[in-house]
Structure formats: structure tokens, C-alpha cells
């Protein structure tokens, strides 16, 4: 099921703002990234992590994925961040400046230690590393395979353009190569690729253009800085009616095929087999999350029975 976890929209929420934390259950995004890093001033680092922990402790009816962006592993705050926040059971850690596979491995080891201490299954805490420097982009391929905890790679354009000593533009040509490299690395490792934030919260048209672009390239989700951006992102990622209709036909066809004792069937003159069924199932699950269809797709529908 984890492979089908929808992560279209990942909202940053500053860890030092109680009013915003309190509203996390209400936002319609798929995941939140509770930030202890850049959004939190130096003199509030300790207060913020306690606040986040208190929030996590009382947020029992979880309705979205919770990732905590800790401070970089090379800072003096990272370990305290983990120590305070992990007993609150977030789903995972957003790891900033994941420049190399070694950094991810280090976090993996730390998480294993915490899991043992907390009596959790090993692998409970997931990792979403940020690829946000030139070095990070170069190492993305190996970083993507550094841990089984990885749910995806997240591209961070603000830091990336800073390390490249360039300006970020709204059209984003300067990000193209980095985005592709992150995408290849993620796809090759079989994990999701999450795109960077779009900073201008008042320019919904440009947000839509950028989201359409990154969807075409292969990203399955986008980070965001304001809940108002959620509608546009979800709308772009929503499967189109024709797509949904086609996927329904595929699932229907493969069920008929299995009844006939085969795993391959022709639909409108095109061969339907496993990869096409998996893609159709992904479309339908996304459509279902958007409220476009009212069917549950089971593993059995996709893979058949033994």
C-alpha cells in the first residue's frame, strides 16, 4: 500500500507557531512538513521542538502523513530534534541537505536506535531526503538507494539555486537539469519524486504552470508554503475524466481476462498486461482520493490471486 500513498501536496508548517500547528488536521494536503529548520529562528529552536512534540502527542486522529524537517545532521540541534520529536510518532523525517548517501545512512542508523528504544518496528520512521545542493544533485542516484526507509526524493530549488549562485525564475529553465537528475534517481530506485515549493503565494497561474510542468516531467507531488496552494496542485494532479474512464476499462478487462485464466487481454486493439494494470490502478486510486470515482482497488484486482 505504501507505494500508493498519495503525496501530491506537502505543506510546510513552521514548528514554532502554535496557531498553525493546531490547524494541521484541517488542511487538505496529503502530508505536512513540520519545520524545525529554516522557519525557526535560532532562539526558538528548543521551544519549537517541545511545541511540536506536544502537538503530536495530542494529534491522535491522524488524517495525513506527518514528516518533521529536523535541522541538518551536521548541526548541534539535530539530535535533540530527533530525541524530542520521535516519541510523538511522526511518520518520518524530512532530512535537509542530503548531499550524500552517507548522510541518509547516518540518519537511518539513528532512527533504528530510536526505534529500538521506543519499542517500534525497525523501519517505522520513513525518510524523505532533500536534494538541495549541487553536490546533492550529483549524488542523487546513490542517495536514492541509501536506505529502505526512503519514500522519495524531494528537490529543494531555493537552496539549490543559492549553491549554484543563480537566481530562481518563475519559468524555471535553470532547474531543468537538476529536476531531471532527481527524477531519474527516484524512478530508478522505485521511490517518489517530490518537487520544490513555489514561493509566490499570490500567483496561482504561475503555480499552475509550474505544477503542470513538473507533473509532465514525472514528479508525483509538490511541496508548498501556503495551504491556499493546495487546490491548484490537487487540481493539476487530478486524473482527467478520459484517463479515469480508460483505467476503469482496463481493470474491468483484466478481471475478465483472469476469469478466462489469462493475465493478458486486448482492449480496443491494445494489449493489457501487468504494468498497464498497475498504472491504471494508480490512476484510479488517485481519482478516488479526488472523489472522482467511488471504487476501491484491491491488490487482488491489480495482481490477481495465486
Amino acid at each position: 500500500m505504501a507505494a500508493y500513498q498519495l503525496r501530491r501536496s506537502l505543506l510546510y508548517v513552521p514548528g514554532n507557531m502554535p496557531a498553525m500547528l493546531q490547524n494541521i488536521p484541517l488542511f487538505e494536503c496529503d502530508a505536512v512538513l513540520i519545520d524545525l529548520e529554516d522557519a525557526v529562528p535560532l532562539n526558538e529552536k528548543d521551544a519549537a521542538r517541545v511545541l511540536v512534540r506536544c502537538f503530536l502527542d495530542q494529534y491522535k486522529a491522524r488524517n495525513k502523513e506527518i514528516l518533521v524537517r529536523i535541522n541538518g545532521l551536521d548541526t548541534k540541534w539535530a539530535l535533540d530534534d530527533l530525541k524530542t520529536v520521535l516519541p510523538g510518532l511522526p511518520d518520518g523525517i524530512r532530512l535537509p541537505k542530503a548531499d550524500s548517501p552517507e548522510i541518509v545512512e547516518r540518519l537511518d542508523t539513528l532512527l533504528t536506535e530510536f526505534e529500538e528504544e521506543l519499542g517500534l518496528d525497525i523501519g517505522h520512521f520513513r525518510i524523505l531526503p532533500s536534494i538541495e545542493t549541487a553536490l546533492g544533485v550529483i549524488n542523487a542516484t546513490s542517495t536514492a538507494k541509501a536506505s529502505t526507509r526512503l519514500i522519495g526524493l524531494a528537490f529543494g530549488a531555493e537552496d539549490y539555486t543559492a549553491t549554484m549562485e543563480i537566481e530562481r525564475t518563475k519559468s524555471g529553465e535553470e532547474l531543468f537539469n537538476a529536476r531531471m537528475r532527481v527524477l531519474w534517481a527516484a524512478k530508478a530506485a522505485g521511490i517518489q519524486a517530490i518537487d520544490t515549493i513555489f514561493a509566490d503565494v499570490n500567483d496561482m497561474e504561475a503555480l499552475r504552470r509550474e505544477t503542470e510542468l513538473i507533473k509532465r516531467l514525472g514528479f508525483t507531488g509538490k511541496c508548498m508554503v501556503n495551504p491556499r496552494q493546495c487546490d491548484v496542485i490537487h487540481d493539476v494532479f487530478a486524473p482527467k475524466a478520459a484517463e479515469v474512464e480508460h483505467a476503469l476499462q482496463i481493470i474491468d478487462a483484466i478481471k475478465r481476462a483472469r476469469e478466462m485464466g489469462t493475465g493478458v487481454i486486448s482492449l480496443h486493439g491494445k494489449m493489457i498486461d501487468a504494468p498497464i494494470v498497475i498504472r491504471a490502478a494508480r490512476v484510479l486510486r488517485t481519482a478516488q482520493a479526488h472523489g472522482l470515482v467511488d471504487i476501491e482497488i484491491s491488490e487482488e484486482d491489480i495482481y490477481g490471486t495465486e
Partner: protein, 512 residues
């Protein structure tokens, strides 16, 4: 002391008047004739100008113990009521009751005159410091809060006899014709003043913009106006209408608006002939935008938009989404400008808008209405009058009228304000009875009144976050805790009158 049907303790009488406890929204029948006033005959064809305010007061025959009124279409920009009371004081007149359509924050200037005995009663609700001081027991002045429809009813039935109405007249001629469309104090519709013009015993038009006869279009006609007074200014134009009314950018407000739009969609009312009312708040406007999009997408030709009108509704009218606007009050410059030139943008009187005792008011023809709330209880009762400290700070407006009239009254409010839970066990004051409220929408969920099971089922089908209102309350209490009840003394300082004249609640003095 008796309990009304909502369990609120209602005294037998207040300020010398016997009270009728509220029973339900529908069954109370009027047994009255329309109020009458002396018929006049004016034989001269000259000017009705009497000079300034003081001359007008003298000409009107105002005496100790009488009741005056003004209209509140100039809202917080109004200076007429303050100027009037200052002149009344200067003339040595005492024991005056005010029965204006509303009193605003700007009228805090009246406080010394209440202390002095110039003003001894408020036959109308109040916004701001006057109500606070009365609630604290620092100001002794009985208040009767009425809805817009309820006030129209009280004047028309003669329950509140207005001796002299002083009506701000933004564009007026010397023979008393006036409208609200033009001039430095233009406010658009004069919907509230219309009732006073027809029922007050004496009518004075007060203008800062005397135009040559005739002042057209005629809003309030010469036939009902006794005198015309000229003043330098009726108020601060900047505060009369806001030049812009804006959609909220607060994510929580937008979330509430989105859920409210889901409710409207689920209701099935958005089809040809759709009618709609909403206020001016940022959330209301965001809902209006969703409704506009829904109407565009469905190519819906609506019937009318009603109530207080904003530029948003003007745009929808001009786009052809509504056949007409029924406007009791213009909220922004765009609405003022529109009502002066577009025949489909109709001025309506407060009586036509919301009076429960006539052959059917406009609120009865509403499909969906968006209403706000200060507090909501688990029986869907709504408070808009008293704030978290228990002070009387807000007037009812059209709240209970619209809720009673509309097929679907949707109350929108954030679940939490500051640290306060908005959905709670009991409201401090009942303004609008729960039996007239269809749905409560907060960012933490949608609660549907049990009398609308089909709407509830449809919302669940649409995957809207439908919750039992008690569950919603519990979720909010889990975050805020349960606030300690406010302590009141036994002294009743004000009444909350339901639109039919029965008493739905009282305001007690807060224990300090």
C-alpha cells in the same frame, strides 16, 4: 419570571412593558391594525426648509419623554445622531428614547447624554461601547435589541411609536423628496429609513446636499416629509461605505467558505431561479465567489440576490447570474453606484425585506443564506449579540429574519477564536433559534440539523466532513478546554426580541 421554550428565564416585564416569552418561530399571529398617524394637509407650495438641526427639532415639536429615530445607512460614518442628541440637550429636552435602526461604535459620543438623562432608553440594538457599559452596570439605560424585520414590525404595528424621525438624506430637495444615491454622503439604498418615513409621527429630512426640486429618482417622497433641515455634513464619507470589500486570504476562512460552498452544492438549490444572500465578511465573500463559479459552470440563471449588497453581487447581476438584486443597504461604492443607475438593482424597505407580519417578506423567497455567529450551541442556537465577556456588543441585524425565511440557513464561523470554542454546550445569548438554522459550517467540520436528513446524506456522499454537532463541540473542547461560565447578576439590562416581538432572551448585568 417565566421560562421560554428555549429554557431562558424571561421576566414578566421590563422597563414598564409586559413581556411575551418566545415559543417558536412560526405560530405567533398578529392581532393588530397598522399604526396610524395624523393626516396632514400642507397648502403652501414653498420650501419646507426650517434651518438647521436645532430649528428642525423645535419645528417638530419634540418634547420630554418622546421617541426619536435615525437610520443607520451611514453606518460608522454617521454624525447625525450625535449632533441631534447634542442639540436636544442644548434645548433642555430630557427623557428621550432612541429607536434608530441601529447604533454604531461612532455613537459612543452619546454616553455622557445617557448619564445626564437626556437619553433614557434604547429601543434598538447597539454596536460597541454603549452596550458594554450597560452590560457592566455602569450605564443605566434599558435596551431592546430587535432584528431588522422585528424593528420594521414594531414600528408598523405601533409597538414602538416614533414621535420624530430624523432621516439623513444624502440627496434632497426643499420640498422633501430625497434619495441615497448621490452627494457626499451617498449611501445607496435607504431601506431602513423607508419604514420610519411611513410610520413616524413627524418626519424630518436632514441633508448636506440640497438639490433643486425635484430630487430624482425619488426614494422617499415629499408626501411623507414634514420638514427639511440643512447641515454642513452628515458624516464621514470614508466610513459610510468602504471602497473595497475583500475576500479573505486566511486559509481557515477559505476552508470554511469551501465547505459552505459544498453545502450549497449539496442542497441542489443552485439551479434556475436560485436566490441567495450573504454578508460582507471575508468568508461570506469567499462563499459568494464559489457560488458565482457554480452558477457559471451550471449556466444557472438565478432569481435574486438579497439583503445588504456588495460589489460582488453587482458583478453577478451584471453578468446575468441574477435577474435582480433586492437591496436594503449598500455595503460598498460599487453597490451605491449601481443602485443609482440599474433598475434591476431594487431598493427594498426593511419591512419588505424581513418583517414577519405582512403578506410575505423577501427573506421568505431565499433559497440559501450565509450567516455568521459569535457562538453556536449544540441545539444550533446562534448568538451574535454578546461577546465572550458577556457584554452586549452587537446588533442582531437581519440574522434571525433571514434564518427563519431562507429554505437553507448556513451559519459559518471558525471553530476557535483566540482561545475560545465557538461551538459549545450553550450560547451566552440566543439571537436566532436553532430550529431555523440548517447547517453549521466550521473549518473542523459540517454539522447538519436533524431536520435535514437528505442534505446530510448527500454531503456524506460527497465526502464532506459531516459531524454530529456534539462531536464537533467535543473536538473543539479537546483543544480549547471548557471555558468557565461568565457570571451574571440577576439584573436584566436588555432584551433580545425575536422578530415576532416575543422575547427570545435577555441580557443580564455581568458580575464584575
Amino acid at each position: 419570571m417565566a421560562l421560554n421554550s428555549l429554557g431562558r428565564e424571561i421576566p414578566d416585564s421590563f422597563a414598564g412593558k409586559k413581556l411575551l416569552p418566545y415559543a417558536d418561530p412560526w405560530s405567533l399571529q398578529p392581532h393588530a391594525e397598522r399604526s396610524t398617524r395624523a393626516i396632514r394637509r400642507l397648502t403652501h407650495n414653498g420650501s419646507k426648509l426650517v434651518g438647521g438641526l436645532r430649528d428642525a427639532i423645535i419645528a417638530s415639536g419634540l418634547k420630554d419623554g418622546m421617541t426619536i429615530s435615525t437610520h443607520h445607512s451611514l453606518r460608522n460614518g454617521d454624525s447625525l445622531l450625535n449632533d441631534l442628541v447634542r442639540e436636544i440637550d442644548a434645548l433642555g429636552i430630557r427623557d428621550i428614547k432612541i429607536a434608530s435602526s441601529s447604533v454604531h461604535v461612532v455613537h459612543a459620543e452619546l454616553i455622557p447624554y445617557i448619564r445626564k438623562g437626556v437619553i433614557t432608553g434604547l429601543e434598538c440594538g447597539v454596536n460597541g461601547p454603549i452596550g458594554e457599559l450597560i452590560s457592566k452596570g455602569e450605564l443605566d439605560c434599558p435596551v431592546v435589541v430587535r432584528s431588522h424585520g422585528g424593528r420594521a414590525r414594531a414600528l408598523i404595528c405601533g409597538e414602538v411609536p416614533v414621535d420624530v424621525a430624523f432621516l439623513a438624506a444624502p440627496c434632497c430637495d426643499e420640498y422633501g423628496n430625497f434619495n441615497g444615491y448621490y452627494g457626499p454622503s451617498a449611501c445607496g439604498s435607504l431601506g431602513y429609513a423607508q419604514v420610519d418615513a411611513q410610520h413616524a409621527h413627524k418626519v424630518v429630512a436632514v441633508t448636506d446636499n440640497l438639490v433643486p426640486f425635484p430630487a430624482v429618482p425619488v426614494g422617499i417622497p415629499q408626501t411623507v416629509v414634514d420638514f427639511v433641515a440643512q447641515v454642513a455634513s452628515l458624516g464621514d464619507p470614508k466610513k459610510i461605505v468602504s471602497s473595497t470589500t475583500r475576500i479573505t486570504t486566511d486559509p481557515i476562512g477559505l476552508q470554511i467558505a469551501k465547505y459552505a460552498a459544498m453545502v450549497i452544492r449539496a442542497s441542489g438549490y443552485v439551479q434556475d431561479g436560485f436566490s441567495f444572500q450573504t454578508g460582507t465578511g471575508g468568508i461570506s465573500l469567499a462563499v459568494a465567489e464559489h457560488v458565482r463559479d457554480m452558477m457559471r459552470q451550471g449556466k444557472v440563471k438565478g432569481s435574486f440576490g438579497g439583503g445588504g449588497i456588495t460589489g460582488y453581487f453587482v458583478d453577478m447581476l451584471e453578468e446575468g447570474l441574477f435577474e435582480a438584486l433586492f437591496d436594503v443597504q449598500c455595503f460598498d461604492l460599487k453597490a451605491v453606484e449601481s443602485i443609482g443607475r440599474n433598475r434591476r438593482h431594487q431598493e427594498m424597505t426593511a419591512g419588505t425585506y424581513a418583517n414577519p407580519f405582512n403578506c410575505g417578506s423577501v427573506v421568505n423567497r431565499l433559497d440559501c443564506a450565509i450567516l455568521s455567529a459569535t457562538e453556536i450551541d449544540v441545539d444550533f442556537n446562534v448568538n451574535v449579540n454578546t461577546e465572550s465577556m458577556g457584554y452586549l456588543l452587537h446588533n442582531t441585524g437581519g440574522h434571525c429574519d433571514v434564518a427563519a425565511g431562507a429554505k437553507l440557513a448556513i451559519v459559518v464561523a471558525p471553530a476557535i477564536r483566540g482561545r475560545l470554542p465557538i461551538v459549545r454546550d450553550a450560547v451566552t445569548t440566543v439571537t436566532t433559534p436553532g430550529e431555523t438554522v440548517g447547517v453549521v459550517v466550521t473549518e473542523r467540520g459540517i454539522a447538519v440539523n436533524d431536520r435535514l436528513p437528505e442534505l446530510k446524506a448527500e454531503l456524506i456522499r460527497m465526502r464532506a466532513p459531516v459531524k454530529d454537532i456534539r462531536q464537533l463541540r467535543d473536538e473543539i473542547y479537546a483543544i480549547t478546554g471548557v471555558p468557565r461560565p461568565i457570571e451574571f447578576t440577576d439584573k436584566v439590562v436588555g432584551l433580545i426580541e425575536y422578530r415576532d416581538g416575543s422575547i427570545i432572551d435577555v441580557v443580564r448585568q455581568v458580575r464584575q
